[in-house]
Structures are given as structure tokens and as C-alpha cells.
């Protein structure tokens, strides 16, 4: 019963969040000085052509009208234009990108596997190495290892992903020629090639993300090691690996899981730069295209999707709290 109520409230919350995100995006979009119809106008662009393009794209209606049309489209589908050239966008219609001549839903689903492969793979790497290194340096606080890891992780956050990616390509891709420099091979086609093509992007992304995990793990670990139950675990003759890896780590995980949820949520919405550097056709590129070309339907679709992922990740994280720390169980 309580679980049900919780789920219902989260669902309502999620929908609310998504609605607000879309709404704000809509409003802000109208503040942005540009005219998407302009791109569909051609050169030279006469007033008449511009008006036609606007009408066809539905941009001549007042913005609230367009917003309602958009929402309506999700449940009823939409048709743009009339006659032979009309375009139908079937339920659930998250809009139609006139610039790409495709359903937004199709555009997003096409790119989903790439972004997911990139994001999840990198996440696994940085989580394991970041938390692992964090634990290690917590145990060797003040040692040379600690100092080197500190410098390394600071370099990781300070260096632009773009630079790291480029250097990775130059060194590992060209000079040493050990890994491919980009492109995406679907998992279904060849799992080995899939992984092989993603190794470098994974490492690059992981390098830039790991720092927070290292530092966070380290500091939380140091806090936890002073707790009485760690003493109990030791007094009971548990192996140090168990004391640290289980008793301490479990109590350290809460903030880490939170950061992870945040990172993963945003990452699954697209890692723009990494995707770009490694020519991976992922969602990030799509979103950037949508923004720079003022492709409102696509922008809304991507935003909605990214927001959905973020909310989802956060809901999962909240559920994790209860599992990780029974005291924080949702009431």
C-alpha cells in the first residue's frame, strides 16, 4: 500500500517534471532570437516564402497553441500540411523534425544504442576505477600513491574532454595504432568490434568523470573508518578486505550512488563532446544539432527524453537509498 502510494506519487512527480521541463523549454525557445522557419526559407528569402515556411511548420500559431498541439500529438498523433505532401506523425508523436525529415521518436531511438553503449560502458569503468582508487588512497592516506592519484584525478577534471579525446586519438589511435579512432559498430553486428571501437571513448569519458568518485570515496571512507562498527568487524577477525570492501564501503556508497545517478542520467542524454570527437552518432550530437538549428520539435523530443532519463535515474537512486541504508528507508 505504502509502496503503491510512493510509486504513484513518483509517477505523478515524474510527469509533472517532464511537463514543466517541456513547458519551460517551449517558453525559452520563444525568447531565443531566431526563426526556425528561416532555415526552411532558402536564399534569397522573401517575406512570402518565410510566411509559407512558418505556416507549414505550424509556427504561425501563438506559442501556447503550439504547445497544446504538441501535447495533444503525444496522445493523438499529428498531421502537418495538407494533401499529397502532408506528413503524418503517429502516436506517440513527439513532434516531427522538418530539418531532418523524420519523426523525432525515430531519430531518438536510432541513436539510443550508441549513447547507451557509450554511457553505460564508461560508467562501469569510472565507477570501478574511481571507487577502487578512492578506497585505496583512503587506506594509504598521505602516501605518494595518494598524492599521485590526487594529481591524476585533478588533471582528469581539469583537462577538457575534447583535449583528452584528441590526445587519445593521436597517441593510441595514430602513433601506436592500437585502437580504432572512432565510429560505431552495433553490438548485434559484432560485440567484439562494438567494444573495440568504444574502448577509447570509454576511457576518455571515464577519465574525466572518475575524479569525483575517487575524492568522494576517499573522504567518505575516512569518515566511516572511524565508526565503532568497523572496530567490531575487526574485533571479530574479519578479513581487512571484508571490513573495508563490505562494511565500510557499503556505508560510503550513499553519496556516490547519488553522484552516479546524476552523472549517468545526464550522460545517457548524450555526451556531446565525446560523441563528436569519436564520431559516434549519439543523442548528444542530436541535441546540439537541435539547439543550433533551432529545431524545436527535435529539441523538445531530446529534452523530454533526457529529462525522463534523469528523473528515472534519480528515482532509482532514491530507491537505492533504502537498500543501501535501511535507516533512510522511505516512509
Amino acid at each position: 500500500m505504502r509502496a503503491l502510494r510512493f510509486a504513484a506519487s513518483r509517477l505523478v512527480g515524474t510527469l509533472l517534471v517532464l511537463l514543466v521541463v517541456v513547458f519551460i523549454t517551449y517558453v525559452v525557445f520563444y525568447l531565443v532570437p531566431s526563426d526556425p522557419a528561416q532555415l526552411s526559407c532558402g536564399r534569397p528569402c522573401t517575406e512570402q516564402n518565410l510566411a509559407l515556411a512558418r505556416e507549414f511548420m505550424g509556427l504561425d500559431d501563438p506559442w501556447w497553441r503550439q504547445f497544446l498541439d504538441f501535447l495533444g500529438g503525444i496522445v493523438t498523433g499529428r498531421t502537418f500540411g495538407v494533401g499529397a505532401t502532408s506528413i503524418h506523425c503517429s502516436v506517440p508523436c513527439f513532434g516531427y523534425s522538418f530539418q531532418q525529415n523524420t519523426d523525432v521518436v525515430v531519430l531518438i531511438t536510432e541513436r539510443l544504442p550508441v549513447t547507451f553503449s557509450l554511457g553505460l560502458g564508461a560508467a562501469v569503468i569510472w565507477l570501478v576505477t574511481g571507487v577502487g582508487a578512492g578506497v585505496l588512497v583512503a587506506l594509504r592516506r598521505g602516501s605518494a600513491l595518494d598524492r599521485v592519484t590526487l594529481a591524476g584525478s585533478v588533471a582528469g577534471v581539469s583537462a577538457p574532454v575534447y583535449l583528452v579525446g584528441l590526445l587519445g586519438i593521436l597517441v593510441l589511435g595514430f602513433t601506436l595504432d592500437v585502437v580504432p579512432v572512432g565510429g560505431y559498430v552495433p553490438f548485434a553486428e559484432s560485440p567484439v568490434d562494438w567494444a573495440w571501437h568504444l574502448v577509447l571513448p570509454w576511457l576518455v569519458l571515464a577519465f574525466s568523470h572518475a575524479a569525483v568518485y575517487v575524492r568522494l570515496t576517499r573522504s567518505q571512507m575516512l569518515e566511516t573508518l572511524g565508526e565503532d562498527y568497523i572496530r567490531t568487524a575487526r574485533a571479530n577477525g574479519l578479513r581487512e578486505s571484508k571490513v573495508i570492501g563490505k562494511h565500510a564501503l557499503r556505508n560510503v556508497l550513499l553519496p556516490i550512488v547519488t553522484v552516479f545517478g546524476l552523472d549517468l542520467g545526464t550522460l545517457l542524454g548524450g555526451a556531446v563532446i565525446t560523441e563528436r570527437v569519436f564520431s559516434l552518432p549519439g543523442l548528444g550530437g542530436l541535441l546540439i544539432d537541435a539547439v543550433t538549428q533551432r529545431d524545436l520539435p527535435l529539441l523538445l523530443g531530446c529534452t523530454l527524453f533526457a529529462a525522463f532519463l534523469i528523473v528515472l535515474a534519480n528515482v532509482l537512486v532514491d530507491l537505492c537509498y533504502g537498500v543501501l541504508d535501511p535507516r533512510a528507508r522511505l516512509t
Binding site: 572511524g226 565503532d228 562498527y229 572496530r231 567490531t232 574485533a235 571479530n236 574479519l238 571484508k242 562494511h247
Partner: protein
């Protein structure tokens, strides 16, 4: 005599300043050695030094030989085998000793599996056995530490320590949170361990009754040094050192043993019998009704508290009048702390009314609530976790003063020092952090904080369990004088029946979440009506080795099973 199992040879522990100095004593196999002494005298740090469990700020010197091997220089691998294997350790503060995020059963099983090859099923089997050994149901396996009462946790920690049948058990205040019936069972368990496995027990305790009951020899510590040691009978009979004499003279015991036969009482309503003010239930599913009192500060009417489907407190009605001390005694896990939690608003109330000076607390909001709360002082059962780990002692004590009073600056400092003094703590401790104190010192900080505001209602949950009797006596004196002076109402929760007898005006006995008996302290503690109360009284140990042996046998004859 064979060479002793454990020999401490000039062990000193210092945290910058010495905490234990040149401590030497030994424990032979099959022997129970009790370490008693002043709170803060270094009992715990000495014991912890043996297994290398002191924080890095401690420096340890001397030798500690376990069966000939020096524990201080043991390689890590061997030390691990010793910890929890050959030597079991019960920690003084059970409520923080368990990992909050794992289930009890898993933590127990883990200890079992750390020292012997066994399957998950076998470990589980052993877990259930261990829980039964300490009087906990098998369902306790699935609980998390925060879902258990203080006494239950203490038993889990004991179960953990004996899990691998150690040859030496170091038990630091193992029964502080246990009511005397359970305590008796635990002592029986220890005795058993010794009898069956020829295990040695190093017992740290303040309870002279327990010492009398169990120990072969006594080591008395004061100010970080061993001031006297010898066979228990000798020391109790003829203490030599000044401190030992003071200690033993401070021991309080229950005045008279309960009469063998039930006093007669009249049935006033179905299931309830009474003798004047003194009432008890005869049906197991009843709670006694409250007796009317004048000028009640606290009134509980039909209070119940539930955790999920489990009803921890069931239809409890009580009151505490101005200037009165109501002692609340009862079985471990019977809901005492839950009642305290309900009054202070920490635990959600399942039903009934809690009112303070006529005002329903659950209805108060905002400023009024804050004012009402300012009138309640609370001593937590678990002093360790009720102090902010990052706040110095002085600040913790000053906190209520800052929140409600107008004292600032030097006045505040003076008041804090005054409070420290009142609870027998040196003002040099004011700049320490909670983890840098001994258990008893922490507990006194909790008391100082609770009385700082001159509360109208004081709720004290086992406030003296970690104090040695000499300090305890002075704290009790303080209590009493404060009480006569300020006439606050006090709900005093304790397992120590002797203390309750000395302090309380009336006593309520809690059993399974219900008040089974209620009445003037003398009446309840001398002429108990309810069978549980009688068992309780019978189980209370006295600080006389000879007498206690007799009492134990009597109690065993009573049949301690329910």
C-alpha cells in the same frame, strides 16, 4: 597451576595523556576475572589494546601475552585469527557496535564464517543457535540494528563474541542494558562457556552483584592503575585499598527479598487486582489502568507504538506528577525506550494521547512545541550516538542552554563547567570529542545536558548503566537534590532495581509492551503481585559472593523459563 592464558605485563595506554598506566594482571584458563573500577579509569582501553583496536592516536606499551604470544607484536594474519576466534570481544556500547546497514543475521553469520569453513546454510543454522543462546527469537535475524532495543543489541553483540567458542572472552559491561532476568541468563551462558570449554572470561563491569555472581578474581582499577587485585571473596570481604572500600560501600542492594508467597489482593475489575495504590494485571493481554494523581506533568493515556505490524507499546496509561519519580522497569525489549521516544516525539505514536502539563503534545506546533520541548530533558539510552561526533563536549552540553536560555560567553562557560562538575566530570574534558571519552563519561555528558535547562520533565533512559557505583551514588544524590529543589517530574527507566528502589516514588513494570504492575516503589519491589515482577526481583543479584550463590540457586529453582 598452569601458566595463565592471558598475561598483561605493564601495559600502558596513552592518548598524549596517559589513560592506563602499567596495568598488569592475568587470566587463567577457566577463570573469570572481573575488572572493576572508576568510570574512566582505563578498563576499556586496556581491554581494547589487547586486540589492537584502539584508534591511531593511542600509543600502547608493555606486553600482553596470550598463551605465550605477545599480542602487541603479532603479525596481522595471526592477529586476525585471534580476533573473534580465540578471543571474543563484547563492546561496551552495543548500540553503535553493529553495522547499521546489514541485518543482524548476516553480521552474525559473517563472524561465524570468518573463522570456520562452512556453508551458508550451516552458518545460518549457527546464527539461529546463537540467537537462541542469548534469548532472542530466530526472527531477530532479519532485523536491522536500529530496529532492536538496547538490550537486544547487547545480546547480539554477546552472541557475536561467543560465536566461535573463544578460549578467552573479553566482555566489557556485557549486561548494562539487560534486565536482571535476562542478565541472569547471560551470566549463565558465560558460566556455561567456562564450564564446557574451559574458557577464560575477562569481565569488565560496574555491577558488584555480577562480580559476586560470576567472578573468581577481581582487579580494581582507579585512575589508570590497578590498585588492588585478588580472589573475589577476599576483596569483597576485606578490601585493602581506599578506593575499593569506597566502591564497595557505595553498593546499593534491594532491601528485602520478596516473600515467598503471593500477598493477597482484591480484584477491582476483571483481570486487575489491587492493594490500595498498588495494582497489577492477572490477564496477560491487559495493561493496568492509570491511578489518578495530582498535578500530573506528564500523562500518557492509552498510548501505543507500532513498528510496522509489531506493537511495541500497547495501551499504556501512566502519569508522572510534579516532584515525582516514576521508575519504569521491565524486560529488555518490552517497549521502555519506545515510550520515551513517543513522549519526546522521536517515535510516531500509534494511538493514545501524550500530554505535558495538560497540553496534548501531538497537537502542538512551531513556537509552542519548541517551548514545550524545552521543558523536557532527555537522557538517551545510547550516549554515544546521541552526541554529535563533531561537537566538543562543552558545546554539546551548552546546546540546550544556547537554544533556550539567554546565557552567552563567559556565563555560558561557567554554567557548562558547573554542569560538568555536577556530573563528576573534570572540566579538562570540555574540549574533548565524544569518541575521546569512556562510556561512563559519555553517559554523564548526556545527563549534564539533560539537566542543563532545569527541566520540568526529565526522561532518563538507563542514565547510570555505565557508571561505577561510586560515581553512580553521587549522580543519584545529585538527582535527588535537584529533584527536591526543582520538583521536576521524572520518568526513570532502569534495569537496576536497587537504584530504582532508592530513587523512585512509584514503579511501573513493563512486560511485552504493557504495564503489568504499578504502584508505590516499596510495595512493588517488596510485595510484587505480578509473576513477572516477582521473577525480576528474584533475579536481581546482590554484591555478596556467598549470598549471591544462594540467591542464584533459588532463582534457578524458580524456573526462569516463561
Amino acid at each position: 597451576m598452569t601458566s595463565p592464558l592471558l598475561v598483561l605485563d605493564g601495559v600502558s595506554v596513552a592518548f598524549g595523556i596517559p589513560a592506563a598506566t602499567e596495568v598488569s594482571y592475568s587470566v587463567a584458563a577457566g577463570e573469570v576475572v572481573a575488572v572493576v573500577g572508576e568510570s574512566g579509569s582505563g578498563k576499556t582501553v586496556t581491554a581494547m589494546s589487547l586486540l589492537g583496536l584502539l584508534p591511531g592516536t593511542a600509543s600502547v606499551t608493555g606486553r600482553a601475552l596470550l598463551a605465550g604470544r605477545d599480542l602487541f607484536t603479532l603479525p596481522a594474519g595471526e592477529l586476525r585469527a585471534v580476533r573473534g576466534g580465540e578471543v571474543g570481544m563484547v563492546f561496551q556500547e552495543p548500540m553503535t557496535a553493529l553495522n547499521p546497514v546489514f541485518r543482524i543475521g548476516d553480521q552474525l553469520a559473517e563472524v561465524v564464517r570468518a573463522h570456520r569453513e562452512c556453508t551458508a546454510a550451516q552458518a545460518k543454522q549457527r546464527t539461529v543457535e546463537l540467537l537462541a543462546l542469548v534469548g532472542l527469537p530466530a526472527t531477530a535475524r532479519r532485523k536491522y540494528p536500529h530496529e532492536m532495543s538496547g538490550g537486544q543489541l547487547q545480546r547480539v553483540v554477546i552472541a557475536m563474541a561467543v560465536a566461535n567458542e573463544p578460549t578467552l572472552l573479553i566482555a566489557d559491561e556485557p549486561t548494562t542494558a539487560l534486565d536482571v532476568t535476562v542478565q541472569a541468563e547471560i551470566l549463565q551462558l558465560l558460566r556455561d562457556l567456562r564450564g564446557r570449554l574451559d574458557a577464560a572470561v575477562l569481565l569488565i563491569t560496574h555491577d558488584m552483584g555480577v562480580v559476586a555472581d560470576l567472578a573468581d578474581r577481581v582487579v580494581v582499577m582507579h585512575d589508570g592503575r590497578v590498585v588492588e587485585q585478588g580472589p573475589v571473596a577476599e576483596v569483597f570481604e576485606a578490601p585493602r585499598h581506599e578506593y575499593t572500600k569506597r566502591l564497595l560501600s557505595a553498593v546499593v542492594s534491594l532491601s528485602t527479598p520478596p516473600p515467598a508467597d503471593l500477598p493477597d489482593a482484591t480484584e477491582v475489575s476483571p483481570g486487575v487486582v489491587a492493594r490500595g495504590e498498588h495494582v497489577a494485571v492477572t490477564e496477560p493481554t491487559w495493561s493496568v489502568p492509570d491511578v489518578p494523581g495530582d498535578d500530573p506533568v506528564l500523562t500518557l493515556a492509552g498510548l501505543s507504538v507500532s513498528y510496522g505490524r509489531f506493537r511495541a507499546v500497547d495501551d499504556v496509561s501512566l502519569h508522572v506528577s510534579r516532584g515525582e519519580v516514576l521508575g519504569l522497569v521491565g524486560e529488555s525489549g518490552s517497549g521502555k525506550s519506545s515510550i520515551a521516544g513517543a513522549i519526546t516525539g522521536l517515535t510516531a505514536i500509534g494511538g493514545g494521547v501524550v500530554s505535558l502539563a495538560g497540553k496534548d503534545l501531538t497537537r502542538l506546533r512551531g513556537r509552542e512545541l519548541k517551548r514545550a520541548r524545552g521543558r523536557i530533558g532527555m537522557v538517551f539510552q545510547d550516549p554515544a550516538s546521541s552526541l554529535n561526533p563533531r561537537a566538543k563536549i562543552a558545546r554539546s552540553i551548552a546546546q540546550p542552554l544556547v537554544l533556550h536560555g539567554s546565557l552567552r560567553g563567559a556565563e555560558l562557560t561557567a554554567k557548562v563547567d558547573e554542569l560538568l562538575d555536577a556530573v563528576q566530570l573534570s572540566t579538562s574534558l570540555r574540549e574533548r570529542y565524544p569518541h575521546e571519552l569512556s562510556g561512563g563519561q559519555r553517559q554523564r555528558v548526556g545527563i549534564a545536558r539533560a539537566i542543563a535547562l532545569d527541566p520540568e520533565l526529565l526522561i532518563a533512559d538507563e542514565p547510570t548503566s555505565a557508571l561505577d557505583v561510586s560515581v553512580q551514588a553521587r549522580i543519584l544524590d545529585l538527582f535527588r537534590s535537584l529533584q527536591t529543589e526543582l520538583r521536576f517530574a521524572c520518568l526513570f527507566i532502569s534495569h537496576d532495581l536497587a537504584v530504582v528502589e532508592r530513587l523512585a516514588d512509584r514503579v511501573a513494570v513493563l512486560h511485552g509492551g504493557r504495564v503489568v504492575e504499578l504502584g508505590p516503589a516499596r510495595d512493588v519491589l517488596t510485595e510484587a503481585l505480578h509473576p513477572y515482577t516477582r521473577r525480576l526481583l528474584a533475579a536481581a543479584p546482590v554484591a555478596d559472593p556467598v549470598l549471591q550463590r544462594a540467591r542464584r540457586e533459588a532463582w534457578l529453582a524458580l524456573g526462569h523459563t516463561e
